[in-house]
Subunit: 188 residues, 2 copies
Amino acid sequence: MEREKALELVKKQLTEHRYQHTLGVMETAITLAGRYGADEKKAEVAAIFHDYAKFRPKDEMKEIIVAQRFPRDLLEFNTELWHAPVGAYLVEKEAGITDREVLNAIRYHTSGRANMTLLEKVIYLADYIEPGRHFPGVDEVREMAKENLDRALIKAVQNTILFLMKKNQTVYPETVFTYNDLINKLED
Amino acid sequence: MEREKALELVKKQLTEHRYQHTLGVMETAITLAGRYGADEKKAEVAAIFHDYAKFRPKDEMKEIIVAQRFPRDLLEFNTELWHAPVGAYLVEKEAGITDREVLNAIRYHTSGRANMTLLEKVIYLADYIEPGRHFPGVDEVREMAKENLDRALIKAVQNTILFLMKKNQTVYPETVFTYNDLINKLED
Protein backbone atom coordinates (compact mmCIF):
# COMPACT_ATOMS: atom_id res chain seq x y z
CA MET A 1 0.00 0.00 0.00
CA GLU A 2 1.23 3.50 -0.82
CA ARG A 3 2.41 5.54 2.13
CA GLU A 4 -0.07 8.38 1.57
CA LYS A 5 -3.03 6.03 1.35
CA ALA A 6 -1.92 4.15 4.48
CA LEU A 7 -1.41 7.35 6.45
CA GLU A 8 -4.82 8.59 5.38
CA LEU A 9 -6.48 5.41 6.66
CA VAL A 10 -4.61 5.54 9.96
CA LYS A 11 -5.07 9.26 10.63
CA LYS A 12 -8.82 8.71 11.03
CA GLN A 13 -8.21 6.15 13.78
CA LEU A 14 -5.83 8.18 15.93
CA THR A 15 -5.54 11.36 17.95
CA GLU A 16 -3.20 13.99 16.54
CA HIS A 17 -0.65 13.13 19.26
CA ARG A 18 -0.75 9.44 18.42
CA TYR A 19 -0.56 10.22 14.69
CA GLN A 20 2.63 12.20 15.26
CA HIS A 21 3.98 9.23 17.26
CA THR A 22 3.11 6.98 14.32
CA LEU A 23 5.08 9.21 11.91
CA GLY A 24 8.04 8.96 14.30
CA VAL A 25 7.77 5.16 14.43
CA MET A 26 7.58 5.07 10.63
CA GLU A 27 10.77 7.10 10.12
CA THR A 28 12.61 5.16 12.84
CA ALA A 29 11.44 1.78 11.54
CA ILE A 30 12.63 2.59 8.00
CA THR A 31 16.01 3.66 9.39
CA LEU A 32 16.35 0.51 11.51
CA ALA A 33 15.23 -1.68 8.60
CA GLY A 34 17.89 -0.11 6.40
CA ARG A 35 20.52 -0.53 9.09
CA TYR A 36 19.80 -4.17 9.91
CA GLY A 37 18.59 -5.45 6.53
CA ALA A 38 14.84 -5.77 7.05
CA ASP A 39 12.38 -5.00 4.23
CA GLU A 40 11.97 -1.21 4.38
CA LYS A 41 8.59 -1.18 2.66
CA LYS A 42 7.17 -3.77 5.09
CA ALA A 43 8.66 -1.82 7.99
CA GLU A 44 6.94 1.32 6.70
CA VAL A 45 3.53 -0.33 6.41
CA ALA A 46 3.77 -2.15 9.77
CA ALA A 47 4.86 1.06 11.51
CA ILE A 48 2.06 3.12 9.99
CA PHE A 49 -0.57 0.61 11.10
CA HIS A 50 0.96 -0.53 14.42
CA ASP A 51 -1.40 1.54 16.62
CA TYR A 52 -4.43 1.25 14.33
CA ALA A 53 -6.64 -0.20 17.12
CA LYS A 54 -5.27 2.00 19.93
CA PHE A 55 -8.50 3.95 20.44
CA ARG A 56 -11.07 1.25 19.83
CA PRO A 57 -13.51 0.77 22.71
CA LYS A 58 -12.31 -1.81 25.24
CA ASP A 59 -15.52 -3.78 24.81
CA GLU A 60 -14.91 -4.15 21.09
CA MET A 61 -11.30 -5.22 21.69
CA LYS A 62 -12.40 -7.75 24.29
CA GLU A 63 -14.97 -9.23 21.91
CA ILE A 64 -12.37 -9.61 19.18
CA ILE A 65 -9.88 -11.25 21.55
CA VAL A 66 -12.51 -13.82 22.54
CA ALA A 67 -13.97 -14.35 19.05
CA GLN A 68 -10.57 -14.66 17.35
CA ARG A 69 -9.29 -16.97 20.08
CA PHE A 70 -6.35 -14.76 20.91
CA PRO A 71 -4.65 -15.81 24.17
CA ARG A 72 -7.34 -15.45 26.80
CA ASP A 73 -4.84 -14.47 29.47
CA LEU A 74 -4.54 -11.10 27.67
CA LEU A 75 -7.81 -10.20 29.36
CA GLU A 76 -6.24 -10.68 32.80
CA PHE A 77 -3.38 -8.31 32.06
CA ASN A 78 -3.00 -4.62 31.25
CA THR A 79 -5.48 -3.44 28.61
CA GLU A 80 -2.54 -1.68 26.94
CA LEU A 81 -1.63 -5.07 25.53
CA TRP A 82 -4.92 -5.54 23.69
CA HIS A 83 -4.55 -3.09 20.82
CA ALA A 84 -1.63 -4.98 19.28
CA PRO A 85 -3.29 -8.31 18.39
CA VAL A 86 -6.63 -6.59 17.82
CA GLY A 87 -4.88 -4.10 15.53
CA ALA A 88 -3.38 -6.89 13.43
CA TYR A 89 -6.85 -8.37 13.03
CA LEU A 90 -8.54 -5.08 12.12
CA VAL A 91 -5.80 -3.97 9.75
CA GLU A 92 -6.33 -7.13 7.76
CA LYS A 93 -10.11 -6.86 7.86
CA GLU A 94 -10.53 -3.12 7.34
CA ALA A 95 -7.40 -2.00 5.51
CA GLY A 96 -6.84 -5.14 3.46
CA ILE A 97 -3.27 -5.76 4.63
CA THR A 98 -2.61 -9.48 4.11
CA ASP A 99 1.17 -9.78 4.50
CA ARG A 100 1.68 -12.13 7.49
CA GLU A 101 5.06 -10.63 8.36
CA VAL A 102 3.56 -7.16 8.55
CA LEU A 103 0.54 -8.38 10.51
CA ASN A 104 2.76 -10.25 13.00
CA ALA A 105 4.94 -7.17 13.47
CA ILE A 106 1.77 -5.30 14.47
CA ARG A 107 0.50 -8.18 16.58
CA TYR A 108 3.65 -8.52 18.67
CA HIS A 109 4.74 -4.89 18.89
CA THR A 110 3.78 -4.57 22.58
CA SER A 111 4.47 -7.98 24.13
CA GLY A 112 7.13 -9.29 21.82
CA ARG A 113 7.37 -13.08 21.62
CA ALA A 114 9.98 -15.81 21.48
CA ASN A 115 11.66 -16.15 18.09
CA MET A 116 10.83 -12.66 16.86
CA THR A 117 11.51 -11.98 13.19
CA LEU A 118 13.80 -9.14 12.18
CA LEU A 119 10.78 -7.06 11.14
CA GLU A 120 9.05 -7.69 14.48
CA LYS A 121 12.17 -6.53 16.31
CA VAL A 122 12.41 -3.41 14.16
CA ILE A 123 8.80 -2.38 14.86
CA TYR A 124 9.03 -3.15 18.60
CA LEU A 125 12.18 -1.07 18.93
CA ALA A 126 11.04 1.78 16.65
CA ASP A 127 7.91 2.11 18.80
CA TYR A 128 10.14 2.36 21.87
CA ILE A 129 12.75 4.85 20.62
CA GLU A 130 10.99 7.08 18.05
CA PRO A 131 11.99 10.74 18.54
CA GLY A 132 8.75 11.66 20.31
CA ARG A 133 9.47 9.28 23.20
CA HIS A 134 10.80 10.86 26.38
CA PHE A 135 11.32 8.69 29.44
CA PRO A 136 14.24 7.58 31.60
CA GLY A 137 16.55 5.22 29.74
CA VAL A 138 15.29 5.89 26.20
CA ASP A 139 18.49 7.66 25.11
CA GLU A 140 20.58 4.70 26.20
CA VAL A 141 18.42 2.39 24.07
CA ARG A 142 18.63 4.82 21.12
CA GLU A 143 22.41 4.64 21.30
CA MET A 144 22.39 0.85 21.59
CA ALA A 145 20.07 0.66 18.57
CA LYS A 146 22.86 2.12 16.44
CA GLU A 147 25.16 -0.77 17.31
CA ASN A 148 23.21 -3.92 18.10
CA LEU A 149 19.51 -4.53 17.51
CA ASP A 150 19.21 -7.42 19.97
CA ARG A 151 21.04 -5.69 22.80
CA ALA A 152 18.91 -2.59 22.34
CA LEU A 153 15.79 -4.77 22.36
CA ILE A 154 16.88 -6.55 25.55
CA LYS A 155 17.40 -3.21 27.27
CA ALA A 156 13.98 -2.00 26.09
CA VAL A 157 12.27 -5.15 27.40
CA GLN A 158 14.19 -4.95 30.70
CA ASN A 159 13.13 -1.30 31.09
CA THR A 160 9.53 -2.27 30.41
CA ILE A 161 9.56 -5.00 33.08
CA LEU A 162 11.30 -2.63 35.51
CA PHE A 163 8.74 0.11 34.83
CA LEU A 164 5.86 -2.27 35.56
CA MET A 165 7.47 -3.57 38.76
CA LYS A 166 8.11 -0.03 40.03
CA LYS A 167 4.38 0.61 39.73
CA ASN A 168 3.57 -2.77 41.34
CA GLN A 169 1.85 -3.86 38.14
CA THR A 170 1.76 -7.38 36.78
CA VAL A 171 4.12 -8.43 33.98
CA TYR A 172 2.63 -10.24 30.97
CA PRO A 173 4.39 -13.63 30.79
CA GLU A 174 4.96 -13.32 27.02
CA THR A 175 7.17 -10.31 27.74
CA VAL A 176 9.34 -12.46 29.98
CA PHE A 177 9.44 -15.22 27.34
CA THR A 178 10.62 -12.56 24.86
CA TYR A 179 13.33 -11.45 27.27
CA ASN A 180 14.53 -14.98 28.06
CA ASP A 181 14.62 -15.92 24.38
CA LEU A 182 16.70 -12.85 23.48
CA ILE A 183 19.10 -13.54 26.36
CA ASN A 184 19.49 -17.19 25.38
CA LYS A 185 20.37 -16.21 21.80
CA LEU A 186 22.70 -13.37 22.71
CA GLU A 187 26.22 -13.92 21.44
CA ASP A 188 28.85 -13.14 24.01
CA MET B 1 11.40 -34.17 64.15
CA GLU B 2 13.36 -32.71 67.08
CA ARG B 3 15.46 -29.67 66.26
CA GLU B 4 18.76 -31.24 67.36
CA LYS B 5 18.20 -34.37 65.28
CA ALA B 6 17.21 -32.32 62.22
CA LEU B 7 20.22 -30.02 62.56
CA GLU B 8 22.51 -33.03 62.91
CA LEU B 9 21.16 -34.53 59.66
CA VAL B 10 21.49 -31.25 57.78
CA LYS B 11 24.94 -30.30 59.07
CA LYS B 12 26.44 -33.25 57.22
CA GLN B 13 25.02 -31.99 53.93
CA LEU B 14 26.25 -28.40 54.13
CA THR B 15 29.36 -26.27 54.30
CA GLU B 16 29.87 -24.44 57.58
CA HIS B 17 28.88 -21.17 55.88
CA ARG B 18 25.67 -22.65 54.55
CA TYR B 19 24.92 -24.26 57.93
CA GLN B 20 25.20 -20.85 59.62
CA HIS B 21 22.83 -19.48 56.94
CA THR B 22 20.43 -22.32 57.75
CA LEU B 23 20.47 -21.41 61.46
CA GLY B 24 19.65 -17.82 60.47
CA VAL B 25 16.77 -18.96 58.28
CA MET B 26 15.49 -21.14 61.13
CA GLU B 27 15.43 -18.31 63.66
CA THR B 28 13.90 -15.90 61.14
CA ALA B 29 11.29 -18.39 59.99
CA ILE B 30 10.17 -19.07 63.57
CA THR B 31 9.88 -15.32 64.20
CA LEU B 32 7.89 -14.76 60.99
CA ALA B 33 5.68 -17.78 61.72
CA GLY B 34 4.90 -16.37 65.18
CA ARG B 35 4.23 -12.93 63.73
CA TYR B 36 1.91 -14.04 60.94
CA GLY B 37 0.30 -17.11 62.46
CA ALA B 38 2.03 -19.96 60.65
CA ASP B 39 2.87 -23.23 62.42
CA GLU B 40 6.18 -22.51 64.18
CA LYS B 41 7.24 -26.14 64.38
CA LYS B 42 6.66 -26.68 60.65
CA ALA B 43 8.50 -23.45 59.92
CA GLU B 44 11.44 -24.70 61.99
CA VAL B 45 11.64 -28.05 60.20
CA ALA B 46 11.20 -26.56 56.70
CA ALA B 47 13.85 -23.92 57.41
CA ILE B 48 16.35 -26.46 58.73
CA PHE B 49 15.96 -28.65 55.66
CA HIS B 50 15.44 -25.96 52.98
CA ASP B 51 18.99 -26.18 51.56
CA TYR B 52 19.42 -29.90 52.16
CA ALA B 53 20.27 -30.59 48.49
CA LYS B 54 22.35 -27.45 47.92
CA PHE B 55 25.64 -29.28 47.47
CA ARG B 56 24.48 -32.39 45.64
CA PRO B 57 26.26 -32.96 42.33
CA LYS B 58 24.47 -31.33 39.41
CA ASP B 59 24.25 -34.67 37.61
CA GLU B 60 22.39 -36.23 40.51
CA MET B 61 20.00 -33.27 40.71
CA LYS B 62 19.37 -33.44 36.98
CA GLU B 63 18.60 -37.17 37.18
CA ILE B 64 16.12 -36.60 39.99
CA ILE B 65 14.39 -33.77 38.10
CA VAL B 66 13.92 -36.04 35.10
CA ALA B 67 13.01 -39.20 37.03
CA GLN B 68 10.56 -37.43 39.33
CA ARG B 69 9.00 -35.54 36.42
CA PHE B 70 9.66 -32.17 37.94
CA PRO B 71 9.09 -29.33 35.43
CA ARG B 72 11.57 -30.02 32.65
CA ASP B 73 12.07 -26.34 31.94
CA LEU B 74 14.03 -26.18 35.23
CA LEU B 75 16.91 -27.70 33.28
CA GLU B 76 16.93 -24.74 30.88
CA PHE B 77 17.23 -22.20 33.67
CA ASN B 78 19.75 -21.35 36.38
CA THR B 79 21.01 -24.45 38.21
CA GLU B 80 20.46 -22.49 41.45
CA LEU B 81 16.79 -23.39 41.06
CA TRP B 82 17.37 -27.14 41.14
CA HIS B 83 18.18 -27.72 44.79
CA ALA B 84 14.73 -26.65 45.98
CA PRO B 85 12.52 -29.33 44.35
CA VAL B 86 15.34 -31.89 44.59
CA GLY B 87 15.74 -31.03 48.26
CA ALA B 88 12.04 -31.64 48.93
CA TYR B 89 12.37 -35.05 47.30
CA LEU B 90 15.54 -36.04 49.17
CA VAL B 91 14.31 -34.79 52.53
CA GLU B 92 11.32 -37.09 52.23
CA LYS B 93 13.40 -40.01 51.01
CA GLU B 94 16.45 -39.66 53.25
CA ALA B 95 15.22 -37.81 56.34
CA GLY B 96 11.72 -39.24 56.45
CA ILE B 97 9.89 -35.90 56.42
CA THR B 98 6.40 -36.59 55.08
CA ASP B 99 4.47 -33.42 55.89
CA ARG B 100 3.35 -32.04 52.50
CA GLU B 101 3.23 -28.47 53.76
CA VAL B 102 6.82 -28.67 54.94
CA LEU B 103 7.96 -30.38 51.73
CA ASN B 104 6.22 -27.77 49.57
CA ALA B 105 7.83 -24.96 51.55
CA ILE B 106 11.20 -26.52 50.70
CA ARG B 107 10.20 -27.19 47.10
CA TYR B 108 9.12 -23.61 46.36
CA HIS B 109 11.60 -21.69 48.46
CA THR B 110 13.59 -20.44 45.44
CA SER B 111 11.03 -19.94 42.66
CA GLY B 112 7.90 -19.36 44.69
CA ARG B 113 4.66 -20.25 42.91
CA ALA B 114 1.15 -18.92 42.46
CA ASN B 115 -1.10 -19.43 45.49
CA MET B 116 1.72 -19.85 48.00
CA THR B 117 0.70 -21.06 51.45
CA LEU B 118 1.55 -18.99 54.51
CA LEU B 119 4.31 -21.45 55.40
CA GLU B 120 5.78 -21.25 51.89
CA LYS B 121 5.84 -17.45 52.12
CA VAL B 122 7.52 -17.58 55.54
CA ILE B 123 10.31 -19.86 54.31
CA TYR B 124 10.86 -17.92 51.07
CA LEU B 125 11.13 -14.65 52.97
CA ALA B 126 13.20 -16.04 55.86
CA ASP B 127 15.71 -17.34 53.31
CA TYR B 128 15.89 -13.85 51.80
CA ILE B 129 16.22 -11.76 54.97
CA GLU B 130 17.99 -13.94 57.54
CA PRO B 131 20.65 -11.93 59.44
CA GLY B 132 23.54 -13.38 57.44
CA ARG B 133 22.25 -11.90 54.19
CA HIS B 134 23.97 -8.73 53.00
CA PHE B 135 23.00 -7.27 49.63
CA PRO B 136 21.43 -4.06 48.36
CA GLY B 137 17.79 -3.78 49.34
CA VAL B 138 17.75 -6.49 52.02
CA ASP B 139 17.26 -4.02 54.89
CA GLU B 140 14.22 -2.52 53.19
CA VAL B 141 12.67 -5.99 52.90
CA ARG B 142 13.55 -6.73 56.56
CA GLU B 143 11.64 -3.63 57.60
CA MET B 144 8.68 -4.49 55.36
CA ALA B 145 8.61 -8.01 56.82
CA LYS B 146 7.74 -6.48 60.20
CA GLU B 147 4.59 -4.92 58.77
CA ASN B 148 3.26 -6.90 55.84
CA LEU B 149 4.34 -10.36 54.73
CA ASP B 150 2.98 -10.07 51.18
CA ARG B 151 4.47 -6.64 50.50
CA ALA B 152 7.85 -7.80 51.78
CA LEU B 153 7.58 -10.87 49.58
CA ILE B 154 6.70 -8.79 46.51
CA LYS B 155 9.73 -6.60 47.11
CA ALA B 156 11.96 -9.66 47.51
CA VAL B 157 10.68 -11.18 44.26
CA GLN B 158 11.05 -7.85 42.44
CA ASN B 159 14.63 -7.54 43.70
CA THR B 160 15.35 -11.06 42.50
CA ILE B 161 14.03 -10.34 38.99
CA LEU B 162 15.92 -7.04 38.93
CA PHE B 163 19.14 -8.75 40.04
CA LEU B 164 18.86 -11.31 37.24
CA MET B 165 18.11 -8.66 34.61
CA LYS B 166 21.09 -6.55 35.70
CA LYS B 167 23.29 -9.55 35.01
CA ASN B 168 21.51 -10.24 31.69
CA GLN B 169 20.36 -13.60 33.04
CA THR B 170 17.10 -15.33 32.21
CA VAL B 171 14.18 -15.16 34.64
CA TYR B 172 12.41 -18.42 35.53
CA PRO B 173 8.76 -17.97 34.47
CA GLU B 174 7.46 -19.42 37.77
CA THR B 175 9.07 -16.47 39.55
CA VAL B 176 7.05 -14.08 37.39
CA PHE B 177 3.88 -16.12 38.02
CA THR B 178 4.62 -15.77 41.75
CA TYR B 179 5.03 -12.03 41.40
CA ASN B 180 1.87 -11.56 39.31
CA ASP B 181 -0.18 -13.66 41.71
CA LEU B 182 0.99 -11.65 44.74
CA ILE B 183 0.25 -8.36 42.93
CA ASN B 184 -3.23 -9.53 41.91
CA LYS B 185 -4.05 -10.45 45.50
CA LEU B 186 -2.58 -7.35 47.10
CA GLU B 187 -5.15 -5.28 48.96
CA ASP B 188 -4.94 -1.60 48.23
